[in-house]
Every structure is written in structure tokens, then in C-alpha cells.
């Protein structure tokens, strides 16, 4: 089944579900819930199941988004993003101010001890990337995951993030840089108890070796 025909089928199931066909809803949920669950797993693992459910309820009711602009999965992930942002705004230290273009997941939710990140201990490097992603602004994280893991097109990512395709390339560029920096930061090891000066210290200390 091609992506295009799968997409057409998803849309047909959604139309039937919204018309009252529960079996179509069950089928559509079964087909697409994994993608949504994984979307939340890298961001709010403790609430992933609840948020997945909320996303599908919003999908059934047609809340959040008026139309399918590019593909069903972009549409669904767009709803998931709004569901996540609403959740984060609720939990953010200053309620309501979570800003997905600037705030990271870690701003709103502390790293849980038992999470998919913790489950990945045997895959050190991957765990580190998942960790680093959580430090980026939420929309940077989403853009990177969509691009590399879900293999969404630029147009689809734009639909998920609710912005123009033209801005996505620049966003991906910045997100990559930010990810590299975050990974490098994690690799720097235990931070000395001098956080304010940590940066200056490490950069200056390097050339003191000469």
C-alpha cells in the first residue's frame, strides 16, 4: 500500500468515524496510535497514554484543526502538538506562558526517573540524543523528530507546526545547530559548580594549555 493510498484510507476512516461509525474509529486508532504515542513518549512520557487519548478524542470531534492540508498524519500530529502544548501550559511554572518556539520540554516537565529515556540505557548514544532533544525549544524538537524519524516532508512539517513551508528549512537549520550544541553540552560531563562561569572557564582554559 502506497503512502498516498494509505493516506486516502485514513481520511475515509476519519470521515466514517465522525459520522458515527465506531468500528472505523477503532480501526483508525489502531492504525495510527503508535505514531502519536511515540510523539508523546519523547516529550511527556508519564502522560503519554492520556495525551494520546485526548488527541484521538479531539480528532473524532474535529476540534483544533479545520482541514487536512497535506496529509492525515501531519493533521493528526498537528492535533497532538496542540494537545501537548495545552498540557505543558497547564504544567508550566507560570501557567499559560509556555511558548513552543522558545520553551523546551524541560522548562515545563522535569526529567522523570522512569521514562522511555531511562529505558534506553543500553543505547547510550541514542539516549543522549533523546535527552538533548528535550532541551531544545519544543518546536525545534518536533521539527527534527518529524524530519528524521517520521520522514515527513517539509510541507507536512509546516502543517504540523502550523507555519509556512518556507520557514521550516530555516527552523530545521537552527534546530540542528541547537541539537549539536546540546549534545556537546551533555558530553562535557559533570558541570563544575560554577555554572555562571562554566562557559567562560572551559573556553578560556583550553588555550591556557599552550
Amino acid at each position: 500500500m502506497t503512502a498516498r493510498s494509505q493516506d486516502a484510507e485514513d481520511v475515509a476512516l476519519l470521515v466514517r468515524w465522525r459520522g458515527g461509525d465506531v468500528a472505523a474509529g477503532e480501526a483508525l486508532t489502531r492504525r495510527s496510535f503508535r505514531m502519536v504515542l511515540r510523539f508523546f513518549d519523547t516529550k511527556a512520557p508519564a502522560a503519554a497514554l492520556d495525551l494520546t487519548q485526548q488527541t484521538f478524542l479531539a480528532l473524532a470531534e474535529g476540534r483544533g484543526r479545520a482541514e487536512i492540508r497535506t496529509s492525515f498524519r501531519a493533521y493528526l500530529l498537528g492535533i497532538a502538538r496542540y494537545t501537548l502544548i495545552a498540557h505543558l501550559r497547564h504544567h508550566y511554572r507560570a501557567p499559560g506562558t509556555f511558548e513552543p518556539g522558545h520553551s523546551s520540554i524541560l522548562d515545563a516537565l522535569p526529567d522523570p526517573a522512569s521514562s522511555p529515556t531511562a529505558r534506553l540505557q543500553d543505547h547510550q548514544q541514542r539516549a543522549q540524543v533523546v535527552h538533548a532533544l528535550r532541551r531544545l525549544p519544543l518546536d525545534h524538537q518536533i521539527a527534527l523528530e518529524m524530519h528524521y524519524w517520521n520522514e515527513l516532508s517539509i510541507a507536512e512539517i509546516a502543517a504540523v507546526l502550523d507555519c509556512t513551508p518556507g520557514s521550516i528549512k530555516a527552523r530545521l537549520f537552527r534546530a540542528r545547530k541547537a541539537l549539536q550544541a546540546a549534545v556537546a553540552d551533555l558530553n562535557a560531563g559533570a558541570a563544575p559548580p560554577l555554572d555562571r562561569l562554566e562557559h567562560e572557564l572551559s573556553s578560556v582554559a583550553k588555550d591556557a594549555e599552550t
Partner: protein, 736 residues
């Protein structure tokens, strides 16, 4: 064009692997909630399976719901190896039933236990194998402990001292199971759970034995396994003891289990907040012969607790001895006492031949001033040697006679005093080679020797290497650093830098030595006016010292950085460096000499920023502290006096400045002799005072004195004198 995409693709890699069982359970929950689905739920007997908590070689752990008791539980599903005989499973079930009867705050409570097969699993029964559920198997229903494991604590960098109590708790849980005849078989950081209230629970008692029966020696985690089990021996309380001690070592020393040998290696420092006596206790529990370990786990726990408890014996224990010590050390020293020779250390380097060499060298350099200088230097050396001897005797008496400190602390004090002895010997030999450049600074060299009082609260014991070669190299580095320091004091900055660099680059230098070397290099570089290089080296020194937890070096680093970057370079972060110096000093604790140095630094900052009133207040505070801790002739006091005078002159208060100028001058004359350039510097200040008073004739007389000292020499003091003379002459010419 590089936009980072290639790197990013590599970095991102594949998405996190899916957990098929978790997704299946999530879907079932979702369908149930959203569609009120009548489809059978994934269950195990009556428990509704909700989520996965972990996978392992043994099977899988799930979060589940017990509808009868309406509570969340953890369920462990264990593979029953087809090759394992039924006895193994029965033994596991029997032990689990015993554990279910055990209610101890430090063990995970077992609620239920039994066997299961495909048909007990409801909706997931048919695809159990695909989902990674072992069938048939044994299940254990246990209390659900949210939060983390000791392993996660370690990964998060918890401090050793914060873990000690948690480890003892874990040991108590383990001991409770031993009392019922249950052996854990797989003690390790991952099996020690810590909840949000810091309650510790040991999990997974006896679980590894299903595997073990099939393949002897295979159950448990090899890295934590006692040696006797590696060769097929049975799991016993003694093998649990070994694994527990190894867990403690890994947690407290932050080493991988394979490196637990650090325990037997004196080089590795004992972690902060931990008593050195913990080491031999754990070493015994880690003995390869089970019979040589502690008889029982509670014995080990008791020994650990004892070892960590401070063992300072109160004074009243040896009442008579205390009285004797109170009467006086001299009296004791005549008896058969262990400290009679504790203070002899410096005598070997400062003996009659050494005195003769010193006098000879001084006479060669300056026949006219030799006696003066030599006398001053000898007095200073004698004074230092006698203070060192009483400090060393005091340290010994505290341990062996008064019993008010542990041997560990004695070691640390002796180690500190030993460093000073090396410095002293270097100073004596450096002075015996004095040349024209060194001679004027000879007394400074002695005053530059380490501060003896600081050894009463030393920077932790430096554990010397056992290997004689390594010990030699360590001693060699200590000598080099001592010499570098003295060279710096005597103004031979380039040589000091070269020696410091050699130490820094020596491959087996300890982090503390490296930090000291960098500090020295930076300090000497600042002496040469290479402030930017000095700043970088000092930052690196602070980093090294922080890593090695060498608090005193950290403080010295910030203090010097404050002066170099804040005062000399006039960088705006001066106040920040000062704040870090203050913070490090707070951590170091009571240290009036460094407190004074900080106050002096703050004065310099304020002076540099033109806040002369603040500068004056800081300098005055510094002076008060220095007067109460340093010798009256100390160069640091003269320096502070001179800076106060400078500040007052900036404030146009020449009359107030006068006494400070005179005091500085007096100290320098006494210590350095009449012809020292620093005396000329103080004389120049006096000229400014006298000019401020309008007393031009006095100013001219003083200026002439200064010029006599610097006559024909290319010194900054000479330049200042010349400028002053010009000012006076211009001033006179402009007068009506």
C-alpha cells in the same frame, strides 16, 4: 555548504526502538476507554496489565492494576527455562512465599506469586512470544515503587556521603531476608530502589535462580558476582555480602565494579565526607575467600557504621595524660614519649654547614652588607624552623598523647607540614646560591614559605603512592613546586614558570599537583606582567582544583585572578571573581590569612574603580587581620600599608598617609635592608606626602635618599623618582 545536516542525520540516528508490549497494552487501554470496547483486556489472572516498566534477561516488569484491592502493583514475569528442573522453580516460589511473609521497610513487599501460562494472559496470550512475554513463566506481584534505583542516583551524580545511609538501609533489608534464610543472589545498584521519600527497598530476591539452575553460575550479574560463584559455587549470604560491599564501593568511590580494586590501593583518595576507616571494612567484605569476610551481613553493617562514626576520643579518657600535656610539652619530651622527635624535621636541612654556606654566599655577593642581610635571613629561618617544630610536636601530641584527633587527621597534618619542610629545604638551598639579584629579596623568600597555621586544618590527606618510583617522582614534583614558589618570591619569574610548567606537564602528576603548578605558573606570569596568560592559567588552575576538591587552591586561584584580571587588567568582572573567592573561602572555612588577602583584593578593586573610600575601608580591614595573624615584618603587611598610603594620597590626605608610609618604610628597611628597591618605592611615597604638606625641602631630601638607592639602576622606582624631581622643579619654577 555545511548547514549541519549531515551531522544532524548521524546524530539523530534511528528513532527510539518500539516497545511492542507497551504499545499493545496502551492500545488496549485506549480502545477500552474510548470505545468502551468489550474485547478481552490484557490481564494476568485478575491483574489488568497497563504498561511496561522494564525488560531484562529474566523477563519483563509491568505496571498493573489489582481490581480486587483497587491498587496499582508491579508484576514481574519470569521466564521458566525449559531446561531448568522443576526444583529451581519450586525453590524460587518457596523463597517468594517466604518473602511475602516478610514485612521490612527496606525490602520490596511481595503480594502474590505463582505460575502462569498462555491462557492466563487474556488478550495478549496468543501473541505473548511476539510481545516478549515469557511463557510459561512465574509471576510475582509486588508493591509498586515509583521513582528510581540506586543506579539512577549514581548516574545523576549523587554525592558519596548522601549515599552512605541509603546503602546501610539497603543492607538492613538484605539482612532481614538472610535472617529468614533467603539469599538475594543478585545484589547490585539496579536492584536497590529509592522512592520519593528516600526510603530504600531491595528488590528481586532470589529471582536469578531460575536461570541459574539451568546454567550454574549464569544467574546474577557477573560484574557483581563473588569470585566463588564465578567458578560455580552456590549463592550464599557470604556471596550476597560480597556483592553488597561491591555495590557500596561502586556507589561511594564512583568506580565501575571492575575497578573496585581502588579499595586496596592507597593512591585513590577517600571520597569527601567518608571516613578512611570505611575502606578496610569494605576490603574485608570483598575478600576472595568467603571465610575471610565478616561472619554475617549485620557484622559488616555494624563495622561500616562504626567506621563512619567520628572517632575523636574525648579528653577525659586519659585524664592524667591530659594534665601532663597541660603542664607542658617540654616536660613530656624528656620522658619516653612518642612525640619527642616529631619536631626534628627541619634540623637536617638547617644545620651548621647550611648556615656557613649561607653566610659564604652572602659574603661573595655583597661583602659590605653581607653580615646585615645574613643575620636577618638567619633570624627569619630560625624563627620559621622553631614555629614548624612546635606545630609538628603539637600535631603528634594531639594524636598520641591527648588523643583528641584521629590518625587520619594526623596524617593530613603531617602531610601538610611535610610539604612545608620540603619548601624550607628548598629555600635554604636556594639562599645558599644567592646572587646579586636574589640577595635583596632573601628575607622575602623566607616569608614566602607556606603558612604553618594552615596545617591545623589541612586540605585533606594526600595519599602518597605506594610504588617507590612513583613516590620519588611525587617528591620530585613537590620540590620543584616549592622551588618555583621561592623563585617567584625572589623575582625570578621566568625560572619559576619553567619549573611550574615541568610539573604541570609531568604525565603522572596528580590533579592537585597540576592545580598547584598552574597556580604557580599563573602567579609567576603575573609577576612578569603577562596578565592575560596569567588569567588563563589561573582559570585552569581553579578548574583543576575544583575537580580535585582542593579548596585552598581554589581560593588562592580566585584571589589571584581577582588581582590579575580585576585590578591589574581592570576587567569589569572583578566583582564576580571576588564573589567566587568569597564563596570558595566560605567553603574552606576559617582562614584569616586568606580572608585578609580577599579584603586586600577588594581594596584593590575599589581603588582601581576610583572608589577610594571603599578601598580604604577594605585595606584597613585587611591590615587588621594581617596584623593578628602574620609576623609584624611580613611583606604582605608592608604591601597593605603602602596601598593604604597610596589611597590616602589619592584622597588628598597626605597627613593621614604619612604614618602608613613611615610604617611601610620601617618594615622594609628592617627586613630588606637600607638599599632595597622597595625601600626606594616607599621613599618615593614619602616624597609625595611631604609635597602634599608643602614641605619641599624635606621632599628633596627624601628624594635624594631614594635616588641614592636606585642610582644607575634600571628600575621602575628610579623612573618614579625622576618624575617626582621634574614635578618639584616645575612647581618651583612656576612659583611667583
Amino acid at each position: 555548504m555545511d548547514d549541519g545536516s549531515w551531522n544532524a542525520a548521524g546524530l539523530m540516528g534511528a528513532p527510539p526502538p518500539a516497545d511492542a508490549l507497551r504499545e499493545e497494552l496502551a492500545l488496549a487501554t485506549l480502545q477500552r476507554r474510548m470505545f468502551d470496547s468489550k474485547a478481552p483486556a490484557p490481564v494476568l489472572h485478575r491483574y489488568v496489565l497497563l504498561d511496561t516498566l522494564g525488560h531484562g534477561g529474566f523477563g519483563v516488569v509491568l505496571r498493573a492494576f489489582d481490581p480486587d484491592l483497587e491498587r496499582a502493583v508491579a508484576i514481574k514475569l519470569l521466564r521458566v527455562d525449559a531446561a531448568a528442573d522443576d526444583d529451581g522453580v519450586e525453590a524460587l516460589l518457596r523463597e517468594a512465599r517466604i518473602m511475602a511473609r516478610l514485612s521490612h521497610p527496606n525490602t520490596v513487599t511481595v503480594h502474590d506469586v505463582g505460575r502462569y501460562d498462555r491462557h492466563d494472559l487474556g488478550a495478549v496470550g496468543t501473541q505473548a512470544a511476539d510481545l516478549g512475554i515469557p511463557v510459561p513463566g512465574v509471576f510475582l506481584v509486588m508493591e509498586l515503587v515509583e521513582q528510581g534505583t540506586l543506579q539512577q542516583r549514581l548516574d545523576a551524580g549523587a554525592s558519596p556521603s548522601s549515599l552512605f545511609g541509603l546503602l546501610l538501609d539497603a543492607g538492613a533489608g538484605l539482612a532481614a531476608a538472610h535472617a529468614l534464610g533467603v539469599v538475594h543472589r543478585d545484589v547490585k545498584p539496579n536492584n536497590i530502589l529509592i522512592d520519593a521519600d528516600e526510603r530504600v527497598r531491595v528488590a528481586d530476591f532470589g529471582l536469578s535462580q531460575t536461570v541459574e539452575r539451568a546454567k550454574p553460575g549464569a544467574g546474577g550479574t557477573p560484574a557483581f558476582m563473588a569470585p566463588e560463584r564465578m567458578v560455580g559455587g552456590a549463592a550464599t549470604p557470604a556471596s550476597d555480602q560480597y556483592a553488597f560491599a561491591l555495590t557500596c564501593t561502586v556507589a561511594l568511590w564512583r568506580v565501575p565494579p571492575a575497578h573496585a580494586r581502588v579499595l586496596f590501593d592507597d593512591v585513590a583518595p577517600v571520597p569527601d565526607g567518608l571516613s578512611a576507616r570505611v575502606r578496610p571494612v569494605l576490603a574485608r567484605a570483598l575478600h576472595s575467600d568467603p571465610a575471610a569476610r565478616y561472619p554475617t551481613l549485620p557484622d559488616l553493617l555494624g563495622a561500616l557504621e562504626d567506621a563512619q562514626r567520628p572517632r575523636v576520643r574525648p579528653l577525659w579518657i586519659g585524664g592524667a595524660v591530659t594534665v601532663a600535656a597541660g603542664i607542658g610539652l617540654a616536660l613530656l619530651a624528656t620522658r619516653d614519649d612518642p612525640c619527642a622527635h616529631a619536631g626534628d624535621g627541619l634540623a637536617t636541612s638547617w644545620d651548621a654547614p647550611a648556615r656557613a654556606r649561607l653566610r659564604g654566599a652572602f659574603a661573595d655577593v655583597s661583602p659590605t652588607h653581607a653580615a646585615d642581610s645574613s643575620n636577618a635571613v638567619e633570624r627569619a629561618l630560625d624563627d620559621y624552623a622553631s614555629r614548624w617544630a612546635s606545630a609538628a610536636t603539637e600535631a603528634c601530641v594531639d594524636t598520641h598523647v591527648r588523643h583528641v584527633q584521629s590518625e587520619d587527621r594526623l596524617d593530613a597534618r603531617v602531610d601538610c607540614l611535610g610539604r612545608l619542610r620540603i619548601e624550607f629545604a628548598e629555600a635554604v638551598s636556594l639562599l645558599a646560591e644567592a646572587d646579586a639579584q636574589l640577595l635583596p629579596r632573601a628575607v622575602d623568600v623566607v616569608h614566602g614559605l607556606g603558612w604553618i597555621d594552615a596545617c591545623e586544618t589541612p586540605d585533606g590527606a594526600a595519599h602518597l603512592p605506594n610504588d617507590p618510583d612513583a613516590r620519588d617522582r611525587h617528591a620530585q614534583r613537590s620540590r620543584q613546586l616549592a622551588r618555583a614558589k621561592l623563585l617567584e618570591v625572589s623575582g625570578r619569574y621566568t625560572e619559576a614558570m619553567a619549573l611550574a610548567q615541568a610539573v604541570r606537564d609531568s604525565p603522572d602528576a596528580s590533579p592537585i599537583s597540576r592545580a598547584r603548578a598552574r597556580l604557580r605558573w599563573g602567579s609567576a606570569a603575573a609577576g612578569r606582567g603577562l596578565y592575560d596568560d596569567a588569567k588563563r592559567a589561573l582559570l585552569a588552575a581553579i578548574q583543576d582544583a575544583e575537580a580535585a576538591r582542593a579548596d585552598a587552591i581554589v581560593v588562592d586561584g580566585w584571589l589571584r585572578l581577582l588581582w590579575v584580571a580585576g585590578v591589574e587588567l581592570g576587567e569589569p568582572q572583578g566583582d564576580t571573581w571576588a564573589a567566587f573567592a568569597r564563596a570558595a573561602l566560605t567553603r574552606l572555612g576559617d582562614d584569616p590569612r586568606r580572608e585578609a588577602e580577599l579584603a586586600h583584593g577588594l581594596g584593590g578593586l575599589a581603588y582601581r574603580q576610583g572608589r577610594y573610600d571603599d578601598a580604604l575601608a577594605h585595606y584597613q580591614r585587611a591590615l587588621a587581620m594581617q596584623r593578628s595573624t602574620l609576623a609584624e615584618d611580613d611583606a604582605a603587611i608592608a604591601r597593605t600599608l603602602n596601598h593604604i598610603a597610596n589611597t590616602l594620597l589619592e584622597l588628598h590626605e597626605p597627613a593621614d598617609a604619612a604614618p602608613y608610609v613611615d610604617q611601610a618604610l620601617a618594615v622594609r628597611r628592617r627586613v630588606l635592608g637600607e638599599r632595597h628597591p622597595l625601600v626606594a618605592a616607599a621613599l618615593n611615597n614619602r616624597v609625595r606626602v611631604e609635597l602634599g604638606r608643602g614641605d619641599v625641602p624635606a621632599a628633596l631630601r627624601t628624594l635624594a635618599e631614594a635616588e641614592r638607592i636606585t642610582d644607575g639602576l634600571d628600575l621602575p622606582e628610579a623612573v618614579v623618582s625622576a618624575r617626582l624631581r621634574q614635578d618639584i622643579l616645575r612647581d618651583l619654577a612656576e612659583r611667583p
